[in-house]
């Protein structure tokens, strides 16, 4: 954990630069005095002002956040269970059901879910979107958790059981802390997938449901104005703040015993 070679710093630095140069442009252009996201004209706060008066956009952002939080929570729980199950037991059906939603084209999944909801007469709305998001996020979490478990030393869990711990206690006090970085990574992935999903959301949203991607993609033919940059930047900051607060409140949740077995 101590000395990291210079080469690593340079390579990782290049990676971070690759990630952040476009982001800098995104944030910078939220102050751009031009309707188009195409080149820099001048500085203005006009777009933030417009955003705060744009009830539709703010409501859409709120919906997206709510859906993403719920979907990532549920899919992390279910995905962790699936990842553990796939690692521990010889299963046939679950690995297939977990892997396929990742492979299947979104448009097929969206159309099929819409037909399904209509068939069972389920009202389309925020709930239908959330249910759809959970379905495609579970797989991502499961795969990460399983990869984390792979190569893990089972002797610790066995030792706990030998000392008389119940399976649930062994899981909660031994396995779970050890896989926590995988669970966190999976949760982050699920959140990212959900908050930016367009195709599946498009088909499963109800007549009055708008999420941020739906709102934004409908602008694609006219102009994706810097208002979108503004709401994106704010949403990012808000999410970051939420996570920092959450980690302060429950440090054990986010950190993990790193000096591992």
């Amino acid at each position: 954990m101590h000395r990291k070679p210079i080469a690593l710093w340079i390579a990782a630095g290049a990676g971070y630069a690759f990630l952040y140069i476009p982001l800098v442009i995104v944030i910078l252009y939220s102050f751009n005095n031009s309707r188009l996201n195409a080149e820099w004209v001048g500085f203005t706060l006009e777009w933030y002002d417009k955003l705060f008066h744009n009830d539709d956009m703010l409501a859409a952002a709120g919906n997206s956040l709510m859906i993403a939080l719920t979907a990532s929570l549920v899919s992390t729980v279910l995905g962790t269970m699936a990842g553990v199950a796939m690692y521990r037991y010889k299963l046939r059906l679950l690995p297939l059901l977990v892997l396929t939603p990742i492979a299947i084209p979104e448009i097929l999944m969206g159309v099929s879910l819409l037909i399904f909801f209509v068939l069972v007469n389920f009202t389309l709305g925020l709930v239908s979107v959330t249910l759809a998001h959970i379905a495609f996020c579970i797989g991502f979490v499961a795969i990460v958790v399983r990869a984390r478990l792979a190569g893990m030393d089972e002797s610790l869990t066995e030792a706990a059981r030998d000392c008389g711990a119940t399976p649930w206690d062994a899981f909660r006090y031994v396995t779970l802390p050890l896989i926590m970085p995988g669970v966190i990574a999976g949760a982050l992935m699920a959140f990212t997938l959900s908050i930016d999903d367009f195709v599946i959301t498009f088909f499963t949203a109800g007549a009055g449901t708008v999420t941020l991607p739906l709102q934004i993609y409908s602008m694609i033919k006219i102009a994706v104005t810097p208002e979108v940059n503004a709401v994106s930047s704010l949403l990012m900051l808000l999410t970051l703040a939420l996570i920092i607060i959450a980690s302060r409140l429950s440090p054990s949740l986010v950190g993990a015993p790193s000096e591992g077995p």
């Binding site: 996201n37 195409a38 719920t70 159309v111 007549a207 449901t209 409908s218």
Partner: protein, 356 residues
């Protein structure tokens, strides 16, 4: 966690329950209705307008075909209206509730896909034409009134890599067919093959097939010539002027003719509030609302004769938006294709795009 689910469930209930209340669910193109006009309608009808958006007719059709419910009104283009009527998805109109229908220019009524306007009334229109950077095109000495500038390598050489065409099989084939002297609705496979060959010859000179970001690139000056929608090109010019560019973005109406797209208001068969939909229809058939709500907002064409006096002069005098009789005669609306025709066209389109 449980609380979240309960909250969401109750929200869903609230949404579905309130559909019966005074809410009018409009599924429309984005930026196709001025917010002030929406407010005006809401005040008049004492109801709330809930708008959701699509950016392509096909998205609307796919969603409706899969069974999506809850919308009162859609605003599809004519060929999509045709598909919806044939699919039995629309509610017939109660003409007695639409006194303002008399304002519409008879040229746009009683169409082949909806005789007698049983299901639809016109909303706004646009054409698919040529857009160009006037400075660059003048420098290069290219014509702007013919599709040749998009398809003929002798012109394309000069703008190689600076041209985009729409990423739509229907639109591009229509332009190619017009250039070859056929109708946009020609379904002869031989003519289609001719059009495909023409497109393939021109393709190496094009920068991209693009329907979403081409306007931006035109305004910035990266792209100099586009095959695009008149509304978009109009808007691009406004943006270019606002950004202080040394060039203007102008519209070129090809002499061979072009596609006219008329968007129409229709009522969904299972609309929760068809009465509000009819009210809205009549409201938008009023000249002033139509002019201020749509045309003055985005520079679209307007089939409403009563709207003329409310339209901004620079839009009214633009021959690409309000073409004169001679040009108007060459404009054609796209018709919907049958299943086998669509499949053939998709095969040709895929071959074009795969570089075969």
């Amino acid at each position: 966690m449980k609380r979240f689910v309960l909250l969401l469930a109750s929200l869903a209930f609230a949404v579905s329950a309130s559909a019966a209340k005074d809410e009018f669910h409009l599924y429309n193109w984005n930026n196709y209705l001025a917010p002030e006009t929406v407010k005006l309608f809401e005040d008049q009808c004492k109801c709330t307008v809930v708008q959701t958006y699509y950016s392509d007719n096909e998205e609307l059709l796919a969603k409706v075909a899969a069974g999506a419910k809850g919308y009162d009104m859609y605003v599809p283009t004519s060929n999509a209206v045709e598909a919806l009527i044939k699919g039995g998805r629309l509610k017939p109109l109660d003409k007695s509730a639409l006194p303002n229908l008399k304002n519409i220019d008879p040229r746009y009524l009683n169409t082949s896909f909806d005789p007698g306007n049983k299901y639809s009334v016109p909303y706004a229109m646009s054409t698919t034409i040529i857009g160009y950077n006037d400075q660059k095109i003048k420098e290069l000495g290219l014509p702007t009134d013919t599709w040749a500038v998009i398809f003929d390598p002798k012109y394309l050489e000069k703008v190689k890599g600076r041209v985009t065409v729409l990423d739509s099989a229907n639109e591009l084939f229509a332009a190619a067919l017009k250039y070859l002297g056929y109708s946009v609705n020609d379904v002869d496979p031989k003519h289609w093959n001719e059009a495909a060959a023409l497109i393939k010859k021109a393709k190496p000179y094009w920068a991209a097939f693009n329907a979403s970001s081409y306007i931006k690139e035109l305004t910035v000056g990266n792209i100099w010539l586009v095959h695009g929608y008149s509304n978009d090109i109009f808007q691009a010019n406004l943006d270019a002027q606002a950004a202080g560019r040394p060039f203007k973005i102008l519209q070129g109406m090809p002499k061979e003719g072009a596609v006219l797209a008329v968007d129409n208001m229709v009522i969904a068969k299972d609309a929760p509030r068809p009465d509000l939909a009819l009210k809205f229809m009549n409201f938008m058939l009023d000249g002033k609302n139509s002019a201020e709500g749509v045309t003055n907002l985005i520079g679209s064409g307007n089939p409403n004769m009563d709207a003329v006096k409310y339209i901004k002069p620079e839009i009214l005098n633009n021959p690409a938006i309000f073409p004169d009789k001679a040009v108007a005669a060459k404009l054609e609306q796209l018709q919907d294709l049958t299943g086998p025709q669509r499949r053939l066209r998709n095969k040709l389109w895929t071959e074009i795009k795969a570089g075969r």
